[in-house]
C-alpha cells in the first residue's frame, strides 16, 4: 500500500502548506518529518489523519481517495493512529480502558490490551487514571492506545517533547521496538536532531510549509545549519563500532577510522554528528597533537564567508570544517588540495542505533 499526499492548506496567521510526499505502508519504518517549529509539520499530520481538511490537492491510499475535493473520508474511518504531544488521554477512563478505547469489544477481550500494557511496562497500573501517572507513563499509554487497533500508519507529533531527557531517551528505544513488533509504519514529527538521527530510517526536511529535502537522515542533516549557530554546521555519517579503548569508541566510517566518546549502552551501529568548528586542517601531518583523529582528506569545496570559511572535505565520508579565512590564506588552501583533517574526539556526538534500519 502506498499513501500519496499532495495537499495545500492556507491559514490566516500561519504558514501556507504545500506538501508532496509518498509513504510506503507495507513495511515497518520510521519516517521523520524534521523542521523548525511553526513550519507546518503538525498541520501536515492533521491533514493526513483527517482532523483537518486541505484547501486543495488530494490524499490517496493506492488510488482510493481519503481526501479529494469534496470527497472527505472522516478521520474515524482512516485507521490512522495519532499520538499527541501531551498524550491527550481520556481523564475519565482507566489506563486499560484508554488502551482498549479504539478496539472492538471482541478484540479488547482477546488479551491484546494486557499484552500492550506489558510491552509498555505498565503492568499493575491498569486501573490507574491518567491523572495518577507520570509524564513518561502517560506517553506510554498514549502509544499503546494508538497501536491497539493495529492502524495502517501511526502519526507521532513530538511525542517526547514534554518529557525530561532520560525519560525521552528510554521511551525512544521502546517506541522503535513497539512499532517493529506490530510492523506498523510511522511518521514522526520532531525538531530535535538527536531524536531524528536515533529513530529515523528516512527523513523529510520541511521548511516554511514545504518539504525541501528527502533521504537518509545522515544525508539530509549533513551540512545543514545547526539551530544554535547559522555558520557552524554538523557533518553526519553512519558508523560501525569496531572496538572500545580507554572510554572511547573506535568507529569505522566509510574507509576511515575515528575515536569518539562512548555514550554507553550496547550497540553496534551509530550515527555520528561532527561539529565543523571541531575540525582543524593541516598541510602535512606534523608532530604529535591532542586530536585523536587524523584523517587524510581532499578539499571538495571552499566557501569564504567574511572572517570564516567553510571547507567541504572528502575523507572517505563527507566532512565539513569551519576555519578562519586567514588560516585558509596562510595555508594556501584550494579546491583539490590534499590535507590532513584533525577531529577532536569531543567534537563528535555518537547517536546509537538500535538495529540496522
Amino acid at each position: 500500500m502506498k499513501l500519496t499526499v499532495d495537499v495545500q492548506k492556507k491559514f490566516v496567521n500561519g504558514p501556507s502548506i504545500q506538501a508532496v510526499l509518498d509513504l510506503d505502508l507495507d513495511h515497518f519504518g520510521i519516517t521523520v518529518l524534521f523542521g523548525p517549529s511553526g513550519c507546518g509539520k503538525t498541520t501536515l499530520l492533521r491533514l493526513i489523519s483527517g482532523l483537518e481538511r486541505p484547501d486543495a490537492g488530494a490524499i490517496c491510499l493506492d488510488g482510493l481517495p481519503w481526501s479529494r475535493g469534496s470527497e472527505q473520508m472522516p478521520a474515524h474511518c482512516r485507521r490512522v493512529g495519532y499520538v499527541f504531544q501531551e498524550g491527550a488521554l481520556f481523564p475519565h477512563l482507566s489506563v486499560g480502558a484508554n488502551i482498549a478505547f479504539g478496539m472492538g469489544k471482541n478484540a479488547a477481550d482477546s488479551g491484546r490490551v494486557a499484552e500492550l500494557i506489558r510491552r509498555v511496562g505498565l503492568t499493575g497500573l491498569e486501573q490507574r487514571r491518567p491523572g495518577e501517572l507520570s509524564g513518561g507513563q502517560k506517553q506510554r499509554v498514549a502509544l499503546a492506545r494508538a497501536l491497539a487497533p493495529k492502524p495502517k500508519l501511526v502519526l507521532l507529533d513530538e511525542p517526547f517533547a514534554s518529557l525530561d531527557r532520560p525519560a525521552a531517551e528510554q521511551l525512544r528505544h521502546e517506541l522503535r521496538a513497539m512499532l517493529r513488533a506490530d510492523g506498523i509504519p510511522a511518521l514522526l514529527v520532531t525538531h530535535d536532531r538527536h531524536e531524528a538521527l536515533s529513530l529515523g530510517d528516512h527523513m523529510l526536511r520541511m521548511e516554511a510549509g514545504r518539504i525541501v529535502q528527502a533521504g537518509r537522515p545522515e544525508d539530509v542533516l549533513s551540512g545543514a545549519a545547526t539551530e544554535q549557530d547559522e555558520l557552524g554546521s554538523e557533518s553526519v555519517a553512519r558508523a560501525r563500532v569496531v572496538g572500545r579503548r580507554e572510554g572511547l569508541l573506535c568507529l569505522e566510517v566509510g574507509s576511515a577510522q575515528l575515536f569518539a566518546p562512548d555514550p554507553g549502552g550496547e550497540f553496534g551501529q551509530a550515527r555520528l554528528c561532527i561539529r565543523s568548528e571541531g575540525v582543524t586542517l593541516e598541510r602535512q601531518a606534523g608532530g604529535p597533537v591532542s586530536s585523536r583523529n587524523h584523517l587524510a582528506a581532499k578539499i571538495v569545496a571552499l566557501e569564504l564567508r567574511g572572517a570564516l570559511a567553510r571547507v567541504r572535505l572528502d575523507c572517505g565520508f563527507p566532512l565539513e570544517a569551519l576555519v578562519t579565512s586567514w588560516a585558509c590564506r596562510d595555508l594556501g588552501l584550494g579546491v583539490g588540495d590534499a590535507v590532513t583533517a584533525l577531529v577532536k574526539a569531543t567534537a563528535i556526538q555518537v547517536v546509537p542505533l538500535d538495529e540496522e534500519p
Partner: protein, 226 residues
C-alpha cells in the same frame, strides 16, 4: 368559625415534585440530543436554533402560557389530535402542564450542559476520532462523561425551576387541586385567602429549596477541572 388552614397543601407539594421529576426525566434525553449541535455543530441557522431554544429565559411566562393555551385548546389541531389519541384535553391537565414545563425548562437544562461540553479539550475528541469513533460515539463516550457536572447542574436547575414555575402553569393548567395546583399556585391562593401562616410556610419551603439548589450548582461549577 373559620377552619384552621392545614399546615401545608400537601397535594400541591406532591404535584410540584411529580411535575419536576417527570420534567427532568423527559428533558434529559431531549437536552442531551439538542446540546450536541449547540456545542459542536457548525451549520446554518445555529444562531436561530439557539435563540429559539433559549427564548423562554427572557419571555414573560404568561406570553408562553398564552400561546400554549391557544395551541393546546380543544379546537386547535394539536388539541384535537391529543383528544383523538388519549380521549382527554391538554389544557387544564397534567400532560399539558408537563409539555409546557418541558419547553420552559429546556434552556435551564441546556445552558450549563452546553457550557461544559464547550470546555472539553478538543484534542480528546480528536483522539477519539483517530481511534475509530464517529461523532455520536465520541459524544456519548468522551464529551458527555467529561461534562457530567454540567449535566447535573442543568438537571438540578431545571428541576428547581419546574418546582417553582407559576405563570405558565396558571395559564395552561389553571388551578385545579390535585391536578394542576402546584406549590407556587397554592402560595398565591393562601395569600389571597389571608392564610398568612400557611403562606409563610410554603414560601419558606420554596425559598430554602431554591437556596440549596443554587448552592449545589455553584459548588459543581467551582469544582469543574479547568
Amino acid at each position: 368559625m373559620i377552619p384552621a388552614a392545614p399546615w401545608m397543601d400537601w397535594s400541591a407539594a406532591a404535584l410540584s415534585v411529580r411535575l419536576a421529576c417527570s420534567c427532568v426525566f423527559l428533558l434529559a434525553p431531549l437536552g442531551i440530543a439538542l446540546a450536541w449541535p449547540l456545542a459542536y455543530g457548525r451549520f446554518r441557522g445555529k444562531l436561530l436554533l439557539e435563540a429559539v431554544l433559549l427564548m423562554p429565559l427572557v419571555l414573560p411566562p404568561t406570553v408562553l402560557g398564552f400561546y400554549l393555551l391557544q395551541s393546546f385548546g380543544p379546537r386547535s389541531p394539536l388539541g384535537k389530535l391529543w383528544e383523538v389519541i388519549t380521549g382527554g384535553t391538554l389544557v387544564f391537565s397534567f400532560s399539558g402542564l408537563l409539555i409546557a414545563a418541558l419547553l420552559i425548562n429546556l434552556p435551564f437544562f441546556l445552558q450549563p450542559l452546553v457550557a461544559s461540553l464547550g470546555g472539553v479539550d478538543r484534542r480528546l475528541l480528536e483522539a477519539a476520532a483517530t481511534l475509530g469513533h464517529g461523532r455520536i460515539s465520541t459524544y456519548l463516550r468522551v464529551a458527555l462523561p467529561l461534562s457530567w457536572r454540567g449535566l447535573l447542574a442543568g438537571a438540578i436547575l431545571a428541576f428547581a425551576h419546574a418546582i417553582g414555575e407559576f405563570g405558565v402553569v396558571l395559564m395552561v393548567g389553571g388551578n385545579l387541586p390535585g391536578r394542576t395546583r402546584t406549590l407556587s399556585i397554592a402560595l398565591f391562593d393562601q395569600v389571597q385567602a389571608f392564610e398568612l401562616g400557611a403562606a409563610h410556610r410554603t414560601a419558606l419551603v420554596l425559598l430554602s429549596f431554591a437556596f440549596l439548589v443554587l448552592l449545589s450548582t455553584a459548588w459543581l461549577r467551582a469544582r469543574e477541572p479547568r
